[in-house]
C-alpha cells in the first residue's frame, strides 16, 4: 500500500516548491541548522581548544554538573563533554522545531493568506487527504533538514573528539534525541502550526505565534544549568513520550479544525 496517493504526492511536491520559493522560509531552513549545528559547535570547539581554560567564565560551575561517566576527563575534555551532551542537544532540537513550524506556517497559513486554499478545497481530494498530504510534506521536509543537520553536526563534533582525544560522541542520549525526540518535536511543530493557522490571518503572525513553542526548550536549557534536572537518557525518553502524547492529541484536534468554514473564515 502506498503511503501517499498520486493527488497527495502532487500536493506534497507543490508544497515543497512553494516553501522553497518563499525567501523567508528558505532562509530560516538554511540559517537555523547552519547556526545551531555548525556555527555554534565550531565556535565552542575553537574556544575549548584555543582559549586557556582558566579564562573561560563559569567553567567551574559547569564542571560541577558533570555526571559520573565524565570523571577522569581533563578540563578541556570535560568542557567539551558539557557542550556535546548538555548544550548542543538543546540547540539541535531547535532545528526540527523551527523547520517544521516555519514550513507548516508557509504550507497552511501561507496558502490561506494567498487565497489558494479555496482552490485546493475545490479539487476532488478529500479534506482528510489534503490534511495528510500537507502535514506529511512538512514533516518530510523538516526530517530531511534535521538529518542533513545531524550529519554536519556529527562531522563537527567528531573533529572535536579527535582533537581532544575523546570517544565518539554518539551515546544513548543522542540516539533517543535523534530517533524519538526530534521526530516527535517535528510533528509537534507542524500540528501546532495547523492549530494556529485557523486563527492567524497572515503567515508572519503565525511565525510570531510559533515563538511560544520554543519556550519549553529554553526552560529545559535553563533548568539543567540551575541543577534542577540533568539531561540523561531516561529524561529524554520521558520527554519524548510526553511530546508524542501531545502530538496525538493535537493531531486529532487539528484534523477536526481543518474544515472549509474554518479555513475560509
Amino acid at each position: 500500500m502506498k503511503l501517499l496517493t498520486l493527488p497527495e504526492q502532487a500536493v506534497v511536491k507543490k508544497d515543497f516548491g512553494e516553501i522553497w520559493s518563499t525567501k523567508m522560509v528558505r532562509n530560516t531552513m538554511i540559517l537555523v541548522p547552519v547556526i545551531m549545528a555548525v556555527f555554534l559547535p565550531v565556535l565552542y570547539v575553537a574556544i575549548i581548544c584555543f582559549v586557556p581554560s582558566d579564562q573561560i567564565n563559569g567553567a567551574d560551575q559547569m564542571l560541577k554538573l558533570l555526571p559520573k561517566e565524565a570523571a577522569g576527563y581533563t578540563l578541556q575534555q570535560s568542557m567539551f563533554y558539557v557542550m556535546t551532551n548538555m548544550i548542543c542537544p538543546m540547540f539541535f532540537l531547535m532545528i526540527p522545531l523551527m523547520s517544521s513550524s516555519v514550513s507548516a506556517a508557509c504550507s497552511f497559513v501561507g496558502e490561506k493568506e494567498r487565497s489558494t486554499i479555496e482552490t485546493l478545497l475545490l479539487t476532488p481530494m478529500s479534506l482528510k487527504s489534503i490534511f495528510k498530504a500537507k502535514v506529511f510534506g512538512c514533516i518530510f521536509l523538516s526530517a530531511i533538514c534535521t538529518a542533513i543537520s545531524f550529519v554536519a553536526f556529527s562531522i563537527v563534533i567528531s573533529v572535536g573528539d579527535i582533537l581532544l582525544q575523546m570517544p565518539f560522541f554518539l551515546n544513548w542520549n543522542w540516539l533517543i534525541l535523534i530517533f524519538l525526540l526530534a521526530p516527535a518535536i517535528t510533528v509537534f511543530g507542524v500540528v501546532f502550526m495547523v492549530l494556529v493557522s485557523g486563527k492567524s490571518k497572515s503567515y508572519m503572525e503565525s511565525i510570531q505565534t510559533s515563538g511560544y513553542i520554543v519556550l519549553p526548550l529554553i526552560l529545559l536549557f535553563v533548568g539543567q544549568f540551575t541543577g534542577l534536572f540533568q539531561l540523561n537518557a531516561l529524561f529524554l525518553l520521558l520527554a519524548a513520550a510526553v511530546v508524542i502524547a501531545a502530538d496525538l492529541l493535537l493531531w486529532l484536534f487539528a484534523a477536526r479544525l481543518f474544515t472549509p468554514e474554518k479555513l475560509l473564515k
Binding site: 498520486l6 507543490k14 494567498r114 487565497s115 489558494t116 475545490l122 479539487t123 476532488p124 481530494m125 475560509l264
Partner: protein, 302 residues
C-alpha cells in the same frame, strides 16, 4: 432530474447577517443559467453552498442528486468552479498550475499534461505557458482560472463573474468557450454576474437575487410576462403629427403591444388615419429592463 436543486437554502453568518434567505430553485441539465444580482446579493455564498465550502444554516441543496455536505469529493469531481476568491499558485507557471490541478483531480501525469496543453491552447495561453502566474495579466490569470475549472471535464460549471477585468478579445474567447461547453458538451453552466447585457447574450434562463432573496427565475419571456414588461411598437412620423393613444419618447411615438402580430394592424391604422410614417420598429424588453422592474417592485413592496 435537475442538475442543481436548492430547497429553502438559507445561510446566516454568526446568526446575524443573512446572506441567503430560503432560496428554492431547480436548474435543468444543459444550458446556461444566469444568476443575477448586485455585489453582496448572495451569489458567491450560493456557489460556496453548492460546492460544499459552506454549510447551510437551513435547507438543502444537491448537484446531480448529490449533497455537497455529504459527498463533497463526488460533487467536486463533477463540478468546475471559478470564483474571484479561488486563486492559483503565483510561483508556478501557467502550465505547472494546470498540471497540478489535473493531478489533484486524480489524472495521471501524462493525461494531466495532455489536458493542460489542450486547455492552454484553446484559451490562447499557449505562448505564456512557461511564465509564472505572478507575471500574468489579470485577463490571462482569469483565463487560466477558467482552464483550471475545466481541467477535469466537469458536468457542471460554476462561474462567478468570468469576464470581469477581461479585454474584449479575451472576453470573446471565454464566452465562445462557455457557449461551446453548454451547447456541444451538454455542460450545465451556473453563471453569476451583475453584467446584465453580458448575461442576456449568453444565458438561457435567469434567477434574480437581491439581498439574499430570489425575486424571480425563468427565461426572459417568462420573466417579462410575470412582471408585466411588454413589447413596445415605436413609430417615427412627420414633424407635428401626434397620433392618439401613443406616448412621445424623443422623436418616436410608442405604445405597448401584446405580441408581434399587432404590428401590421398598427401600421395600417396610422397610414389610414393620414399620418406620414417614416420608420416603424418593435422594441423588446431587455434583461436590464426586466431586472430593474423586479428590483423596483421589491423596493416599493418594502
Amino acid at each position: 432530474m435537475a442538475a442543481i436543486h436548492m430547497e429553502n437554502l438559507t445561510k446566516t453568518y454568526d446568526g446575524k447577517i443573512t446572506a441567503l434567505n430560503g432560496l428554492s430553485l431547480d436548474i435543468p441539465q444543459g444550458g446556461i443559467f444566469g444568476f443575477l444580482g448586485p455585489n453582496g446579493a448572495g451569489k458567491t455564498t450560493t456557489v460556496k453552498l453548492l460546492t460544499g465550502l459552506l454549510k447551510p444554516t437551513k435547507g438543502t441543496c444537491t448537484v446531480f442528486d448529490m449533497s455537497p455536505m455529504e459527498r463533497p469529493c463526488d460533487v467536486h469531481r463533477i463540478c468546475g468552479v471559478m470564483t474571484e476568491t479561488a486563486r492559483m499558485y503565483g510561483q508556478m507557471t501557467g502550465r505547472q498550475n494546470l498540471q497540478f490541478f489535473a493531478q489533484a483531480a486524480g489524472m495521471d501525469r501524462q493525461e494531466g499534461d495532455q489536458r493542460a496543453d489542450e486547455l492552454l491552447k484553446s484559451l490562447d495561453l499557449w505562448d505564456a505557458r512557461d511564465r509564472k502566474l505572478s507575471e500574468y495579466s489579470t485577463g490571462m490569470a482569469q483565463r487560466l482560472s477558467l482552464a483550471r475549472s475545466l481541467v477535469h471535464r466537469p458536468r457542471v460549471l460554476f462561474l462567478d463573474e468570468p469576464t470581469s477585468g477581461l479585454d474584449p478579445e479575451s472576453a470573446q474567447t471565454v464566452n465562445a468557450m462557455i457557449l461551446s461547453l453548454a451547447r456541444n458538451a451538454g455542460v450545465t453552466v451556473f453563471l453569476c454576474t451583475h453584467q446584465l447585457r453580458y448575461a442576456q447574450d449568453l444565458c438561457d434562463a435567469y434567477g434574480i437575487l437581491e439581498r439574499g432573496n430570489l425575486l424571480a427565475a425563468g427565461d426572459l419571456p417568462t420573466l417579462c410576462k410575470s412582471i408585466g414588461c411588454r413589447i413596445t411598437a415605436e413609430f417615427r412620423l412627420a414633424q407635428g403629427q401626434a397620433p392618439k393613444g401613443f406616448q412621445k419618447a424623443g422623436e418616436w411615438w410608442r405604445t405597448e403591444v401584446r405580441s408581434d402580430e399587432e404590428m401590421p394592424g398598427l401600421v395600417r391604422k396610422l397610414i389610414d388615419s393620414g399620418h406620414d410614417l417614416y420608420e416603424a420598429r418593435l422594441v423588446r424588453p431587455t434583461l436590464e429592463d426586466v431586472y430593474f422592474q423586479y428590483t423596483q417592485r421589491r423596493e416599493v413592496e418594502q
